[in-house]
Symmetry: C2
Subunit: 384 residues, 2 copies
């Protein structure tokens, strides 16, 4: 408890944009997010009063950080499981727990567990030698997807192999691998839910996520032309996974909708997720507030849409040069007074997620055009 | 400019809830609000990374604070005009300027100016001796309203006199006074607008404000049963005042709607205002973001409603004792998953504004009940 306010202190390990936006949500709840950042220039460190500088791989830094927190949670999946278990043994309340989080940290553990649960998933196999990939490709190939079991994100750690022999250098690098079938997909969806220690769950409307080069560029809420039955099926799947794995906080379940119309689980994330950024304005309760409410065992908030059509587009770093970000912002705000802008305080680098924009309205085609235009103006600039 | 982000630095003098909520808005724009707070326990100081501790009445503290700010603005009206002029002479960009702000700092200056502009206002007169009040009461009384020309807020500095002789002790205290007619009013309204240095204006829907004991307890957006003509009249009045006075930033014009249906100007505030808190969720652009956009000369944001009916209710400190604020919050969030809560990080004291709640929906009666119930639960607790 913060003795000045009588309200709990949530500590978030990691100082990126998720912590930055969670801090915004914490402010409304009377709190101030405590952030463990690796640098004072991290996006969340730039804005949060209660920032501690330290490495998330340093157990002693984590222990110092956890002191005085009512609950510790995460902005990313990179805290070693042993460290989380050590903190749990110290008596620190951590959500999600090490037992739950491992399913977002290790794709092999996740696939094993979901397979055991009978959750619809792509065909997959563990990889310890090149022959494993060759065998799998014979059944499910020729093209297969090899994934690093740990450490990948935003398309990193994912390789599309048209020839099984290409796995050799990956194996040589020592990264633990799995192989999955290349799913013939219609599109990607995401089901974001939250779960509290008490066991309450809340599910957001299912969204469509549009990827380019393995990075999410657009999220459409609600997913267009998704039948109510299929949407409920996706929500129930996410709730079932959250409950079985004992997730506390936000769980994002990334799904493939196959060409045949089936839903298969692609990835899990146990934190506020890019596929939920639209909820800041597009849902009654944002995923960031929902995550705080969940880890604090507060009752969860309403997840209903605030507009019939919502589109979020990520703003990625463009080519160097051109107008400053401040100039770009001026042009954009003049062009679209209704666009919602979120900048993360990061130095631009090509391909880096610098922010996102959200458009809300009556018609998905219209908000999609607005969001894409806004993202492009911020990424590339406009004018001569 | 913040060299780490390439984005401007706005400094706000005053560390209360307005700065706290402006910081939330600044985060989305890629910024971090710089706050001059009198104590590290001020609501904004608890949450903002870039807080300077100092007195707003100390010119040297203001000068140090202003260094590195692209623009300086205010969370309250209590910075002495001479200090603001000194900063302006130093070359600091300040919005609103001393010339504009004086109309929110001094009711006599405000009444003189609005009278000269022909803006509909209550009958009023300056007061230098008791006879001024007696004379005024003879024409406009018997009951009259005496106001401190400077320093009043939330019902402080306002006295209802049924006998003109009662002004003697007020005069003796040395406070500069004015006297106003007691308007026979139907209700109070507020027109919130923003204006940029370029001269762009943006007007929010006109709201009804419900006062109790001189403190705003509820804001209804849009004002129920206000004709479109009357709403436009109120907006145009506010725009005319903002433009004539050279206001930059948010201007809140508090209005009396008289028993006869006329609109009279009651007060002016040149900053985000309690009558605009509903805009955080209820309008496409919050008044806090709008204030930042205005003082930075960014294009202003859309002011349209996000729901047909929005009600904000203030949470005031109740009687000491009872459940903790954290317990009250649990009960409330369980009872109304759609309620939006904003707590300011303040120690409770009877009558102190500790936060506000906002309900959004289709029907004003319903959202009003929800907001009032939520505020009462937070103020008084529920249960045995």
């Amino acid at each position: 408890m913060d003795s000045r306010t009588g309200l709990p202190v949530v500590g978030m390990v990691g100082g990126g944009q998720l912590a930055r936006m969670t801090h915004q949500a914490a402010i409304a709840l009377g709190q101030s997010l405590r952030v463990l950042a690796t640098s004072p220039d991290d996006g969340a460190a730039l804005v949060a009063a209660d920032t501690v500088i330290g490495q998330h791989t340093d157990l002693e830094a984590l222990r110092r950080f956890a002191k005085g927190c009512d609950v510790v949670t995460f902005d990313h999946e990179h805290v070693p499981g042993d460290h989380i278990r050590a903190l749990e043994a110290d008596g620190v309340t951590i959500h999600p727990s090490s037992d739950a989080l491992v399913h977002a940290q290790n794709k092999r553990v996740m696939r094993d567990r979901l397979t055991a649960m009978g959750v619809p998933s792509p065909a997959w196999a563990p990889v310890t030698e090149a022959a494993d990939v060759a065998r799998f490709a014979a059944d499910h190939g020729p093209t297969v997807v090899v994934k690093a079991a740990t450490g990948g994100y935003d398309g990193r750690g994912v390789w599309l192999l048209s020839d099984p022999a290409e796995v050799a250098p990956l194996l040589a690098s020592g990264v633990p691998l799995i192989v999955e079938e290349k799913v013939r997909l219609r599109r990607e969806l995401a089901a974001v839910v939250a779960r509290s220690p008490w066991g309450q769950v809340a599910a957001y409307p299912v969204v469509e996520t549009v990827q380019r080069d393995g990075i999410c560029v657009e999220v459409l809420a609600p997913a267009p032309a998704l039948t109510a039955d299929r949407a409920v099926q996706a929500q129930e799947l996410a709730i079932r996974i959250a409950t079985a794995l004992g997730v506390v906080g936000v769980l994002a379940v990334e799904l493939f909708e196959t060409a045949g119309g089936d839903l298969l689980v692609n990835e899990l994330a146990m934190r506020p997720h890019n596929s939920g950024h639209w909820t800041i304005e597009g849902a009654r309760t944002s995923q960031f507030e929902q995550h705080l409410r969940a880890v604090l065992d507060y009752p969860l908030g309403a997840t209903s849409l605030t507009a019939p059509a919502v589109c979020m587009a990520n703003v990625l770093g463009g080519a160097p040069g051109g107008p400053t970000i401040d100039e770009r912002l001026h042009h954009l705000l003049a062009a679209d007074p209704g666009i919602r802008v979120h900048l993360y305080g990061k130095q631009p680098r090509p391909g880096r997620k610098l922010g996102h924009v959200t458009a809300l309205g009556e018609d998905m085609a219209e908000v999609r055009t607005r969001a894409a235009t806004a993202a492009r103006w911020l990424q590339e600039g406009v004018g001569p």
